[in-house]
């Protein structure tokens, strides 16, 4: 059962990722990315991280990707145009990626001491200790300070986003602004 589920959703991940690369219109890429994220959420469930699975769906698919989609539609981004490519990107980038992947794959496949994932088995074998309990115990005791700092970080991010995207003064649309320059 585990195997089938794994293959299925891993396949969705891969398909979504490859589709992201192949699509020319950014909205299609965004939608593919949503597929990837949701599949990843399922994979998290398979690995016994329930809270993270839900958080993935709520935060990533539900907020971040929606934000992406909004921006795509706001800026009216069209299909990708043929522009001057970067020779460095292809000539140096691809071999680099290949090398990167090769290294990672080598490490992962030859590592010793890696076991297997059993379905339904969580991180702890104690009863009554769900994944959420475990997580919150650490998060709100030891790592309380980083937690609070993260919330401040998000606040700053909000302020920053508003400040950057703010249009000064008039309510001209962006296209009118461009025509003015």
């Amino acid at each position: 059962m585990h195997l089938i589920l794994f293959f299925l959703f891993a396949g969705f991940c891969l398909a979504g990722a490859i589709n992201l690369l192949l699509q020319t219109h950014p909205i299609n890429s965004a939608l593919s990315l949503i597929v990837v994220m949701t599949s990843l959420a399922v994979l998290y469930l398979l690995l016994g991280a329930e809270f993270l699975a839900i958080a993935q769906i709520i935060v990533y698919s539900g907020a971040v990707m929606v934000l992406f989609t909004f921006v795509v539609m706001l800026l009216n981004a069209g299909r990708e145009e043929r522009t001057l490519g970067s020779r460095a990107a292809t000539r140096i980038g691809f071999p680099a990626v290949v090398a990167l992947f090769a290294v990672l794959a080598t490490i992962f496949l030859h590592a010793q001491g890696l076991g297997a994932a059993h379905l339904g088995e969580g991180l702890s074998s104690a009863p009554g200790q769900s994944n959420l309990t475990l997580l919150s115990q650490i998060l709100f005791h030891e790592l309380l300070l980083p937690f609070e700092v993260t919330s401040v970080l998000i606040l700053i991010a909000i302020l920053g986003a508003v400040a950057i995207a703010h249009v000064e003064g008039s309510k001209m649309s962006s296209s009118e602004r461009v025509a003015e320059k």
Partner: protein
């Protein structure tokens, strides 16, 4: 009994004069500048005179109770307590030594120097670099006195170089004139060649004697009386090169005629009386070394005699009054070298002193003539000045007669001992005697030629300025004139006796013969008379004859007029190859260096151009390089990491501890 000689005062005052006039001179009034410039040598002269007087008293009266009179025993030396160089076994001090030789020399230097300073006040009255002139002149006196007083080779070399510097500064005094600037350079460079030989000599002295002090060298030499030959010969020959450069002997005399570009008092002081005699002084000072090397002595004598004849022949046909006097100086210096070469050092020094008197007088008088003629220096344009400049005429006559060697004037008393000593030396040296005799004839000839052309006959051109010569110029002329007349009356015997402690030769002198001496003296006087008669015939009675002779022997005349083309020969043999060498060989090196510089610059700029492409602003290339870098780092870690890199590197005990810690907590909380 031994009072301090205050030797350090002698160079001090000229040095102060140099500083004052050099730094503040342009802002001081002219009178003050003159006062400083003239007082400095005066004070030095007074100090020297008092020291000299003290030594005379000591020598004259060896009474036990002379305590009341301040007396000075020679040699008196003053040393600075801090050594100059103290490296290993070598120790060189700042030592001033006053002995008979340096006393005599200092008297000449400071005395004649003082007179010439006074003369300059009048001569340079209208010049613009007045303060600069006096500061350089004082600088010269400072270095010259250091040279004379030096107690070791190194300090003497300091003075040696310093007078070369002062000479350069003063020759190029009218530096706006290209010829003057070139002459200054020529003097300095040729001197430098001589100095190179001198330095080699000093190095050899150092390696041979492990000391540079004159007194210690004489001690060493006294310890081994049979030491002659090779090393000492080489040392002496090197020192001779230096002396030849400074004293304008063959082949390094070429700078002296050109040095006439400087003001006339400079020519009088530096290039007649004092600096050019430094070479003779040096040989006399180091005569103990020369005595040990017959080869070197012969070389000195031959060089001196050859130079004397050579220069006299050139001086015969020159038309510039100062050039004639310059070649005359070279010729007389040759006499002094000849004297040193036959080990008659006292005679050389005696001639040095006499020559200082009449040669300085000749130059100063010539300066007076030039001054009156408004800058005209060509003999062919002068004439008939006898009536117009009486003082100059009479003093110059005294000098001309003195240099020709007529008794009872100064030159007679100094030249004849030299010829006598040369005659006595041996069979070979009789040739030298003959050369000296012929040179005496030529000397008389060209000096009287100059005399006739300048003062006698009808004026060949209108003198431009007829203002009278100022007193400051006349008084030194008179004083030097008196000295030229009476100076020789001291007599060579008394002079040699005085100098004997320091300048006596250590070779046994051949037995003298008073009768022979008398005969030789008569011969010399007759020869001088003959020279006068020839000059009289050619330049007074039949003034058209010189031109006829010149026309009859055109090549010979041109050869002499052009100074045997020596300058041109040097130019072709030495200067041109050197320039070509520097252009092509060193030019090649230059090209190489330029090429290297260009290469380095090129590499830098090429690297810049290449690296500039990295900063393209293109996001994707940045991303590509990022990925490449990350891959490289990971590869590096993978390949050079721990031997257990294949196993997960983060699987170590700490994590296990944490894991067990948490399980304990969990277990604890679970109530186990």
């Amino acid at each position: 009994m031994n009072e301090s000689a205050h030797l350090w005062l002698i160079p001090l005052f000229p040095f102060l004069g140099f500083l004052l006039n050099g730094i503040l001179g342009s802002r001081l009034p002219r009178r003050l500048v003159s006062a400083i410039g003239v007082l400095a040598p005066l004070v030095s002269f007074v100090v020297v005179l008092s020291d000299f007087g003290a030594t005379i008293i000591t020598a004259a009266s060896s009474c036990p109770n002379c305590g009341s009179v301040a007396a000075l025993a020679l040699p008196a030396s003053e040393t600075l307590s801090y050594p100059w160089l103290a490296i290993g076994a070598l120790r060189v001090d700042f030592t001033f030594v006053l002995d008979q030789l340096s006393a005599v020399m200092l008297l000449v230097v400071t005395g004649v120097g003082f007179l010439i300073h006074v003369y300059s006040v009048g001569y340079m009255k209208d010049e613009s670099g007045y303060a600069r002139y006096f500061s350089f002149l004082n600088l010269f006196l400072f270095f010259m006195s250091v040279l004379v007083l030096a107690g070791n080779f190194l300090l003497m070399f300091v003075g040696w170089e310093g007078v070369g510097l002062a000479s350069y500064l003063l020759i190029g005094f009218y530096f706006q004139r290209t010829s003057a600037a070139d002459a200054g350079k020529k003097a300095f460079i040729v001197n430098r060649i001589g100095d190179f030989g001198f330095l080699i000599g000093i190095f050899l002295v150092l390696t041979t004697f492990s000391t540079l002090s004159f007194s210690q060298i004489s001690v060493w030499l006294a310890l081994s009386p049979d030491w002659h030959g090779t090393v000492l010969t080489v040392i002496c020959l090197c020192l001779l090169v230096g002396a030849a450069g400074k004293s304008a002997q063959l082949p390094l005399y070429i700078w002296l005629p050109d040095a006439m570009e400087g003001p006339t008092p400079v020519s009088a002081l530096i290039h007649a009386a004092t600096m050019v005699t430094a070479g003779v002084y040096m040989i006399a000072r180091t005569h103990l070394l020369f005595d040990r090397s017959p080869v070197a002595l012969w070389t000195v004598a031959i060089v001196g005699a050859a130079t004397a004849l050579f220069a006299a022949t050139i001086g015969l046909v020159q038309n510039d009054i100062k050039r004639v006097l310059a070649y005359s100086t070279i010729s007389q210096l040759g006499y002094m070298f000849l004297a040193c070469g036959v080990a008659a050092y006292s005679a050389a020094i005696f001639h040095l002193v006499m020559h200082a008197f009449f040669k300085a007088l000749l130059f100063l008088a010539a300066g007076s003539v030039i001054h009156a003629m408004g800058g005209e220096q060509d003999l062919r344009k002068m004439g008939g000045l006898r009536t117009k400049m009486p003082v100059t005429f009479w003093t110059m006559t005294a000098a001309v007669v003195a240099i020709a060697g007529f008794p009872p004037f100064a030159g007679f008393f100094s030249k004849d001992p030299i010829l006598y000593a040369a005659f006595l030396q041996g069979t070979g040296s009789k040739v030298l005697w003959l050369v000296g005799l012929v040179t005496a004839l030529l000397t008389s000839l060209y000096m009287f030629r100059l005399w006739y052309l300048t003062f006698m006959g009808e004026p060949r051109s209108e003198a431009k300025h007829h203002h009278s010569t100022p007193l400051s110029m006349l008084v030194p002329l008179v004083i030097l004139g008196i000295l030229s007349v009476c100076g020789g009356w001291i007599g060579i015997e008394r002079f040699s006796a005085y100098l004997a402690p320091v300048a006596a030769a250590h070779r046994p002198m051949p037995a003298g013969n008073p009768f022979l001496e008398f005969i030789l003296t008569i011969v010399a006087v007759l020869v001088a008379l003959e020279g006068w008669l020839i000059a009289d015939k050619y330049y007074r009675r039949k003034p058209e004859r010189p031109a006829q002779v010149a026309a009859a022997l055109p090549n010979g005349y041109k050869l002499l007029l052009n100074k045997y083309y020596v300058d041109e020969i040097y130019g072709a043999i030495i200067v041109k190859p050197l320039l070509a060498f520097s252009k092509y060989v060193l030019g090649g090196v230059d090209l190489l260096l330029a090429g290297i510089a260009w290469l380095l610059a090129g590499i830098a700029s090429m690297t810049g151009m290449i690296l500039q492409r990295w900063q393209s602003g293109n996001l994707r290339s940045y991303a590509a390089w990022l990925a490449a870098g990350a891959a490289a780092v990971l590869l590096f870690l993978l390949l050079t990491g721990s031997p257990h890199a294949w196993s997960l590197p983060f699987f170590h005990s700490e994590t296990i501890f944490k894991v067990s810690h948490i399980t304990v907590i969990q277990n604890g909380q679970a109530g186990h």
